[in-house]
């Protein structure tokens, strides 16, 4: 949260100030209660984390199967063989397949995010600041589009992509991913822009700044937390998406990383070790981003909802 931001209309003060002693539950908890609270929290957290630890164990174990049901998350005989197998995948002609697919994933996700956010920001600003004919219907369309079931869109989207010769291309995926993420982004950013007081912009307008300039110099810097979170979601949409990528891509060198995970989980035999290693590799960047941006999550997500 930008330290120099003037307190928005009703958005909460920074986290620390709000949750004071007289919090909803907290206040004068007895030591016994406090211990109990930690016990409960540790239990829930352990339950949350355990599946992840098991995956790590699986990734460090044997490639083919994962025999013997043991609850301990510590791998008996750790080795990096699975990771080497996943990362070292090459094509018959010696191209480094994994590198290519990693590059696909990174490019698709980053470009989706940049393109999607640029488009969503300008639209959200217009929706937030101007009253114009079609504004309400436009917002409503964004909302409705979230309810369209994906299964229904798959065949038509495939046909459209085929007509535009965008199958097996990054551009096709980027276009589809960014348009799927735009409605959510617009709603979130609009909610955040709504909470930024207009006086600041009015001052800029008085100085003769154009709407575009006002947005760029005044609103954008104040909205960085919300933009960061929206960008995170756009990135996750693209980085994690699997069904459409699986449908649109047929060349192995065009695959994104989620598609290769599918290959390890076959119909009849599952290579759990490779699956686990690939899963960790695919999840790692998103989890890292999530952790890096998680302090913005709280403010960024709820800004639109809690304003009076």
């Amino acid at each position: 949260m930008p330290a120099d931001a003037p307190a928005p209309k009703t958005r909460g003060a920074p986290p620390k100030a709000a949750a004071t002693e007289a919090g909803p539950v907290g206040s004068h908890a007895t030591p016994g209660l406090r211990v109990l609270r930690h016990v409960a929290l540790v239990a829930v957290t352990a339950g949350t984390i355990l599946p992840v630890l098991w995956v790590v164990k699986m990734a460090l174990g044997e490639a083919q199967s994962f025999q013997g049901a043991e609850l301990s998350p510590i791998p008996p005989d750790p080795s990096l063989a699975n990771f080497e197998a996943v990362v070292g995948a090459t094509l018959a002609d010696g191209t480094w397949l994994f590198g290519r697919q990693l590059l696909n994933s990174v490019l698709v996700s980053v470009l989706t995010t940049v393109f999607g956010i640029a488009v969503a920001c300008t639209a959200a600003y217009a929706f937030s600041r101007f009253r114009f004919a079609g504004r309400r219907s436009g917002l409503f369309m964004f909302l409705v589009s979230q309810m369209f079931p994906g299964v229904m869109m798959m065949i038509p989207l495939y046909v459209i992509m085929e007509k535009l010769h965008l199958l097996d291309t990054m551009v096709g995926l980027i276009l589809v991913y960014s348009t799927t993420s735009i409605p959510f982004s617009v709603w979130m950013l609009k909610g955040y822009f709504d909470t930024i007081p207009r006086d600041l912009e009015e001052a800029a307008v008085m100085d003769g700044a154009s709407p575009a300039r006002t947005f760029w110099t005044v609103v954008l810097p104040l909205s960085l937390p919300a933009i960061a979170i929206t960008a995170l979601f756009s990135f996750m949409t693209a980085w994690n998406e699997f069904v459409l990528a699986y449908t649109f891509l047929s060349k192995e060198s065009a695959f994104t990383l989620p598609v290769i995970i599918r290959n390890y989980v076959g119909e009849h035999s599952v290579q759990w070790g490779l699956f686990a290693a690939a899963s960790l590799i695919v999840s790692a960047p998103v989890v890292a981003l999530f952790f890096a941006l998680q302090r913005y999550l709280v403010g960024g997500l709820t800004a639109g909802g809690v304003k009076s």
């Binding site: 609270r37 930690h38 929290l41 699986m58 609850l71 079609g134 735009i182 759990w272 997500l301 909802g305």
Partner: protein, 573 residues
């Protein structure tokens, strides 16, 4: 919505809006008429090709006799014929196995002409289809596409083998130009009329003018479609002697079509006039606002709304792209004893799935948020970071991991039971309850962090003085929660719950990857059932109809909750 600017739209805006409203109705009407004419024309063409095949069916399989049989065919009956052929015993049999055979072909005029090399596999493919059609449904003819608009149709010969024709498909001509011209004339008249009329009379004028224009346009389209069909039927007469009853033609473009388009055009022109005119007015005044939203809107319309409406259209077709009206919906909503799943059972499972999940997400998320929002809690940053991990992991990976957790032999779920001394449970086996529980556990793990973060954010925005004041008034912990926290959480929680409900309702990955719908598709929710219709049953119309039903359920849900809570309403202002 704010009033569309101070000064009211001018005649030019109204006339443009009238044109847009008219196009919204007349364009789909045109596509429908064109589609109907094309479908009837195509069916007729197939019938004529098969009739031509029957006419040469009994010719001995020598080039000379085939040539004389071909020469007797009325050539104008099937203009696009390039070859007449006889394939003696052979081609592909019903098991797709190649049989010894000989292909004899000649031109439609009876002169010998070898079939081009590229066509031969197509002829054999058609022959294979003829055979499987005969063994499956008792019909004696079938067609195969040869690419580039060329089709091969063949009928079975009594002495074995297949006889038929190769022809290039023709397109029916629906002269839509007249309908377009009529609509354009209507807009010009509207421009003149709106200029004279007072602003108040506009919508009435538009409704009447739109209805009139719709009536004219739809009449023209209906006549055009019918004449295209009549032309095809006339050609069929030429082959009437060749065997087979003449096909019946029943284009859906009739009086009902004219009436529907007339009413729709009137309603659209009357109802859409004001908002669209306001749009044109604002657009001329402040183009930069529309420029700002244009990229997002264009992308969304092209890649979300267009596919959606293409899907809607699919819901009314069968797999051969025949228009079947509401038959796909009837198949779903009035399940017969023969189908292996029941829509109402699946709907019940979906509702149970969604409500249990959302309840657990909110309950766990809120409880954790309440505990974590205490400033004095030690290590809360660590707890929070660890607790949002499930949100960050891609959900299909989560689903596959949990499928492994519930594995009977080496899954930790059973290992845990073993610790407690209980025997192994076949989680993903034949029991509905254990399958459902596995899905539920997976999705609960996956979904609570979102609600936790939303609740945390909402809790932080509650001013601390409120609690202090409540405490001063002697409110206990529960009372503070009940009368301060909960009411103030509502505005943030309701949109999140609505969103969470939509997500869970359509949570394809978990159900598809964990239980896979087992046992016997019982744990399928509506979205996975739609996918099953798409992938397994390969009935695209049924899948689209399923999806449309899902959409209507969600739309109704959102509308009702919005009305009840006004939660999303506030965001509009």
């Amino acid at each position: 919505m704010a009033a569309p600017a101070t000064n009211s739209p001018r005649p030019i805006d109204a006339a443009l809006a009238f044109g847009v409203a008219l196009a919204i109705v007349v364009a789909p009407a045109f596509f429908f008429a064109d589609f109907e004419a094309g479908r009837e024309h195509g069916a007729s063409e197939t019938w004529r090709a098969l009739a031509a095949g029957r006419a040469v069916r009994d010719a001995p399989a020598e080039a000379a006799s085939l040539g004389s049989a071909a020469a007797r065919l009325p050539r104008e009956a099937l203009p696009g014929v390039s070859h007449v052929f006889v394939l003696t015993e052979g081609g592909l049999d019903e098991f797709d196995i190649e049989r010894e055979s000989a292909l004899v072909a000649c031109g439609p005029d009876g002169r010998p002409a070898a079939a081009p090399a590229g066509l031969e596999p197509r002829i054999r493919e058609a022959a294979g289809k003829v055979k499987s059609a005969r063994s499956e449904s008792g019909t004696d003819g079938a067609c195969a596409d040869a690419g580039g608009g060329v089709r091969v149709c063949g009928v079975a010969r009594p002495s074995g083998g297949v006889a038929g024709v190769v022809f290039r498909q023709t397109a029916p001509s629906v002269p839509a130009g007249w309908a377009g011209l009529a609509a354009l004339a209507a807009v010009v008249i509207a421009l003149l009329a709106f200029g004279r009329a007072g602003a108040r009379a506009w919508w009435r004028l538009a409704a009447v003018g739109g209805a009139a224009a719709g009536a004219v346009a739809s009449l023209l389209l209906a006549f055009a479609a019918r004449s295209a069909v009549a032309a095809a039927a006339g050609l069929e007469q030429l082959l009437a002697g060749a065997g087979g009853a003449l096909p019946s033609h029943d284009p859906a473009v009739g009086w009902g079509f004219v009436a529907a388009v007339t009413v729709a055009a009137g309603a659209a022109a009357g109802g859409l006039l004001r908002p669209v005119a306001a749009f044109f007015h604002d657009f001329r005044g402040r183009p930069f606002v529309y420029a700002a939203i244009a990229p997002a809107m264009v992308g969304m319309v092209l890649l979300i709304f267009v596919p959606f409406f293409m899907g809607v259209y699919l819901a009314f077709l069968d797999n051969d792209r025949n228009f079947v009206g509401l038959a796909n919906f009837a198949d779903i909503l009035f399940p017969s004893g023969t189908s292996d799943t029941n829509f109402y059972f699946t709907l019940g499972v979906t509702v149970m799935w969604t409500s249990l999940n959302v309840f657990l997400h909110v309950a766990i998320g809120l409880a954790l948020a309440l505990v974590l929002s205490d400033a004095k809690l030690r290590g809360k940053a660590i707890y929070r970071v660890l607790l949002i991990v499930p949100w960050a992991v891609p959900n299909y990976i989560t689903a596959l991991v949990w499928k492994w957790i519930f594995n009977t032999q080496y899954g930790p779920a059973n290992a845990m039971l073993a610790l407690a001394g209980a025997g192994p449970v076949d989680w993903l086996g034949q029991s509905f309850l254990t399958n459902f529980a596995a899905n539920l556990a997976t999705n609960t793990w996956l979904g609570f962090p979102f609600m936790m973060i939303v609740s945390l954010g909402a809790l932080q925005s509650i001013p601390a003085d409120l609690y202090e004041a409540a405490q001063m008034d002697g409110a206990g912990r529960w009372q503070r929660f009940r009368h301060v926290t909960l009411p103030l959480l509502k505005p943030a929680l309701f949109p999140a719950i609505i969103l969470g409900t939509i997500w869970t309702f359509n949570m394809f990955n978990v159900v598809y990857l964990v239980s896979g719908g087992g046992p016997n598709n019982e744990t399928n929710i509506l979205i996975t059932e739609a996918y099953r219709a798409f992938r397994v049953l390969k009935n695209y119309g049924l899948a689209a109809a399923y999806s449309l039903i899902i959409f209507f359920i969600l739309a109704a849900y959102t509308a009702v909750t919005n009305r009840l809570t006004k939660a999303a309403e506030s965001v509009y202002e």
